[in-house]
Amino acid sequence: MERFFRSVLPTLVLMLLAMGLLLTACGDSTPTTATQPTTTTAAAVPTGVAAIPTAALNSGGSATTAAAAAATTAAAVATTAASPTTAAATATIAATTAAAAATTASTTAATIAAAAGTDTPKKGGSITIVSTNEAKTMHPYNCTDVYCNSYISRVYAGAMTKRDPKTLEVVGAAAKSWTVDKDAKIITYTLKDGIKWSDGKPITSDDYLWTYQQAIKKENAWPRYAQNIADPAKPDQNGAIGYEAPNPQTVVVKMNTLTFDIVERADFITPLPRHIWEGKDWLDPTKNSEIDSPSVASGPWKLKEWVKGKSWTVVRNDASTIWPVPYLDQITQATVENSSIAFQKLKSGEADAIVASYGFTTQDVAEAEKLSNVSVYKWISAFASWSEMAFNFRHTYFKDAKLRSAMNWVIDRKALSDKVYYGLAVPMYADVAPSSDKFDGNAVEKYGYDPEKAKQILKDAGYTVKDGKLMDPTGAPLPKLKYAYSTGEPTGPKIAAIAQQEFKDLGIELDLVGTDFNALLKTITTEPFDWDIAQLGWSAGINPEGFGDVWKTIPNLNFGAWVNDDVNKLYSATQREFDNAKRKEIMSKIQSIESRDGPYIYLNANTSYAGINKRVGGVTPTPLGIGFDSRAYSYMTDWYIKG
């Protein structure tokens, strides 16, 4: 007993103390301030005019994997967990909430509500962005993902057009004007006066033409050659068939087909400085240092240093002419592979910004909102990633729309949003994300959670349940369904488990098959198509009209081989329709069909979000984002340090 008091007890006390210290340190010990209610304002937004059809598949999680292009949407939400003094000093776009956007997307949108006492932006200061992913190349004609795109687009400007973040119209970037000859399918861009490289040399149409000529050389192996260049012998092929520079300010592009988004389709060349690049190797960075360390820039930023794998630093291009000259002196993007550590850097103030696609996870958003040094911005992006459960129509049982409808009624989209996405998602009912101006809440069947209705639909259609198993109208039992999903995203297994539970209630048994994303793709796109339901996601394109290409591409994109001639014809019609209002009508019809007789159980579209240190001002959430990534409207030129 004496020994107990002499040795064991003090040890126990010490251990308890150590544990207490550990728990205190682990917990959120940062001083917090009360969250202010979200400001909500709604206003009409002019619809986007024309754009490149874009969509990219993802594994159904929160990560956005979209390809390039600009945007069309309606709603943006800015919430800042700010203390009164800093909140007053922040200019934000306040807009509709996610739920409101889902119901009234066509009429809701954003207005700039510049708060009283706004800071006056001034030059100077540096910020650090933290990201879990790093670019691998700076070569504009070898870059294949959003990470290198975001590096490149800050340094190389030169796209003829961009989207206005407020009106979402196509406006000039490098081009001051353009004309379209619809009969000849020719677009003539006129470059802005006085646009220059950072070394003072003018940016001329010759730079565009030379870059085009290099990019299309077979030996230069441009990965997006066939996407942008058409074969004139094939009249249906989209793409350019001619590129000319008749004078230093004019670029003429001849296209093979006429589509409503021809102005942006023809705008595919990011010019490289001919006077620097000519004579250098196009593809070998060991022979051409300009590839990874460009000495001149056309964008708002110039590369200062790239320590591969660690950090990437750009400084202000004071000679920026296409984009405004930024306020900040310097931006460093630091790579931190682990998202917990990345968030910790934001908390500690070592990093100033982190966004969802750069490793800011939904789990951390709630904690970030309580931090005194961080503002959380939320918005519904024009490129919102959305998720779905796709049916495999090679199996006859899925051809019955009644069965699919019943399955739709047992998926609780609200619960999925709350439990799986931490409230950062809005329901979906067709190909068009609620953020788009083409979304029509009245056209779609808005499936709620109603198991009784689902059972009634099945009963009316002649289905019965025997020993807990669903029998089709002929009395044959429905087989156990193979439900394929990706384990790469934390959301994958959670949604799969919910689906398994809910479908079981209808007598439908699921065999959950979780694999990595590449294996999932192989399963769903190759013979023998051994799957019934696949859980996947897409990143919305700026123009939902472009999604029609997905249905035409069996099995690589249209995995379940869903064929609906009406939908295909309607999508084709959108491509030739230059009137936005008429395109919207067509899109409403498509959504009506898809939500009732569609290929998917549409689930949710993700809300975008970012955590930014409160010392940074000028951060404005728009449907095009906050000026951050490759599709940004500002490339952080409007960010500044407060005070």
Binding site: T128, R224, A226, T286, D292, Q344, E350, K522
Partner: protein, 320 residues
């Protein structure tokens, strides 16, 4: 000995060849490919996919691809990264210093396990012995990467709430940019964690070996001859006890490199492990295979060295 070395060299080459064939096949047969990221972009034309596969020679049968790769590899051309366009050797050389630093500091710190093992063996049953044993059991049961994240989060939250900065967060810091001391400070934790593997293994093996040797007849004889303690320890005990430790060392190196993969991810060190994981994730085949071959070659070489050390330490061992 010469014959042994020649035989082992031939064996090593054969082993490398086998690893390359198996590794090449597995990496190429795995789902995905450099074109996968394009496959999902509806704007991309099938012609582009075909062109990408053609460009990298991925349309050939795998044996043909392998033979082409092998032929180039024998000429020390391991290809170029699909992503960065740099030669594989450049990418490996860029990543190597980080891994080398981590692994070598791990190996050196891990060596402390040998004196520790001797120390506790000589004090068998004492409190020191018991505490070290508790420590080794606990240390072996806890995943070191998890411990790493936990320590980082704890120290970082402590720094946020109290201002006491014990350990820095990994990765770039604007305040300490270019500061070598800060970089070394950042490496303290990963080095200790990676050293733990060796430390635990060495101390356990050394302890049991020393105890075993101490009870041998020749040690008793040496003592009865009146030899002093130091000589007995050095010549009779340590030298004999170290033989299995050398084997453990040879076997541990691959696990050090393997362990560095995880630590490089957590501590944001762009080393060989990180390079390999990213290459596999992005189907950057030349890098993935290049790293595999590089790590295999080093591991085989180290095992080879430990075999030779074996003979040097123990005169009874003669290879023929």
């Amino acid at each position: 000995m010469q014959r042994f070395i020649i035989r082992r060299l031939i064996q090593s080459f054969g082993l490398l060849l086998a690893i390359s064939a198996i590794g090449f096949t597995i990496i190429h047969l795995a789902p995905g490919g450099p074109e996968t990221k394009f496959l999902l972009d509806p704007r991309l034309k099938p012609e582009d996919i075909v062109a990408i596969r053609e460009r990298y020679g991925l349309n050939d049968p795998i044996p043909v691809q392998y033979i082409k790769w092998l032929w180039n590899a024998l000429h020390l051309d391991f290809g170029r990264s699909y992503e960065s366009l740099y030669p594989v050797s450049d990418e490996i050389l860029r990543a190597l210093p980080n891994t080398l630093f981590l692994v070598s500091s791990g190996v050196i710190l891990g060596m402390l396990g040998i004196p520790l093992g001797v120390f506790i063996a000589k004090r068998r049953g004492s409190i020191a012995d018991k505490s070290v044993r508790v420590f080794t059991v606990a240390g072996s049961s806890i995943p070191h990467w998890w411990l790493g994240i936990l320590i980082l989060l704890v120290t970082s939250n402590l720094a946020i709430s109290t201002g006491i900065k014990i350990l820095p967060l990994p990765g770039y810091s604007a305040e300490a940019n270019g500061n070598t001391l800060y970089f070394i400070w950042q490496l303290v934790l990963p080095s200790i964690l990676i050293a733990l593997t060796g430390l635990l293994a060495y101390s356990r093996v050394t302890r049991s070996q020393v105890l075993d040797v101490m009870s041998q007849d020749y040690v008793r004889t040496a003592k009865s001859k009146g030899l002093d303690e130091k000589t007995i320890n050095r010549v009779h005990i340590l030298r004999n006890a170290l033989i299995p430790v050398v084997t453990v060392f040879g076997g541990l190196l691959p696990s050090f490199i393997g362990g560095s993969v995880i630590f490089e991810r957590i501590f944001s060190l762009p080393g060989i492990g990180n390079l390999s994981i990213e290459a596999l994730g992005r189907s950057d085949y030349p890098i993935a295979i290049g790293v595999l071959m590089f790590v295999s070659a080093i591991s085989i070489f180290m095992l080879f060295i430990s075999d030779i050390l074996y003979a040097l330490i123990d005169p009874r061992i003669r290879y023929s």
